[in-house]
Symmetry: D2
Subunit: 142 residues, 4 copies
């Protein structure tokens, strides 16, 4: 496994997501892909909000989760059975109202059976971290 380059690019990941997860059609956009890194955007809609206008915890979890999933697939190829084994999140600030939410994900360890990464979520255009996540994924055997 080469950790210096991706084997799925932005278009391939976008097509994979549309094919495998049609139920989230239009919800996420891949803004940037690089070796061991990805930026994914949540196109915030009413259904992501909860009382008080903040983005719901599940919506933030989903964004962190899909970001790590796509970051791993970019490195290992289209293995849909790659699954989350653990997640840890701190929700720190109310997102800026009316803005998309951007996940910046970085893989810290890409092992043979486990991948560990971290994700920081930001309201578009803001430098304040809205939420922080650590995600572990299990990689299926070949």
């Amino acid at each position: 496994m080469n950790k210096d380059s991706v084997i799925m690019d932005q278009n391939e990941l976008t097509d994979f997501l549309a094919a495998e997860f049609p139920q989230v059609q239009g919800e996420y956009s891949i803004d940037r892909v690089a070796a061991m890194e990805i930026d994914v955007r949540l196109n915030v809609q009413d259904r992501h909000l909860r009382p008080g206008g903040t983005i719901s915890g599940p919506s933030m979890f989903s964004l962190a989760d899909v970001s790590m999933y796509l970051a791993v697939l970019a490195m290992i190829g289209p293995k849909a059975l790659t699954v989350t084994t653990s997640a840890n999140l701190d929700f720190m600030r109310k997102p800026v109202s009316g803005r998309d939410l951007i996940a910046k994900c970085r893989i810290l360890k890409l092992g043979r059976v486990l991948a560990v990464g971290e994700v920081h979520l930001y309201s578009e255009g803001s430098a304040n971290c809205v939420a922080r996540a650590a995600m572990t994924y299990s990689i299926p055997p070949k």
Copy 2:
């Protein structure tokens, strides 16, 4: 705050959920409420599944999150602005196919500003824990 009895019962929590979160209508049922404890059911539907037929991570996060939210409201009353501040989950087993998922939530600490709880998720009728979560909620000032 009396920790020996609830101030919202099963019907009141069900009505609150329907009124405040109409977008999850029919998704969750409250099976049991007691002081510092609640059991909540995810009525599993196709949209909760992911490739391979397992229940998605976000669906399990949402179930753990709503369980802790309802467990806290049962004790403190209908404060919709109570929000998740942190979450930690281990996803351990594939749920049993075709079964509902049951969250058993217990509040470990109900403080003035923070509530800490744990949640275990089971496929209905199975004693094997599918996922474990710890959730912290921030309680709004009076």
Copy 3:
């Protein structure tokens, strides 16, 4: 792997700990061992305390960590290279002054490569949970 019985009992685990971790001599006692469960006692001494008289975070982490380690070894035998891969802790209450700290550990999943467990810490004689931990251990290949 039989999950209904231990293959190391209380005496064997105590001897193992003394032989492999002489630096913690006298610090921990194993109160009870059962299949997938263990109770371990921290014999609280001055060096475990921090300003304000509370038991330090590292002392509580160590107790949770050693408890899960011993719970796993009880099931799989004396594999010293079994290592922690992740930990999550909530510190909820100040322990009762002058009391030992008791860890009650339960293995939730004992897989081929990973073991996941949870630990609750109590001041001896108190029903209030001082801290909660989830620990994941990596099991070395045979």
Copy 4:
């Protein structure tokens, strides 16, 4: 609270640590302090090691914990009663043998009652992350 500058510098933090935590004398060095950031070194000794020669989980927890503690005190001043409320760690790689361990800590949120930060641990001279931690501290009222 000004988030652009520290109110305790490297010397003041070093003196504070020596005065309040004499039991860790010589164990930690503060390599760098800046607004919302700190680098702390674990001067690795035999007692930090475990079978197999790796640095023990408790030693890594302690380093992450003291780093976040000092990062917070640098911003708010010498409040010894500031305590850890939660911690999450992933242990990812065996540290390089015979090298000190460096914690790079960053505060992500410095609120009125809670501070949330993240810590990455590296063997000195290596770019591979040995462990990742998220720590939450409770700040005592004035």
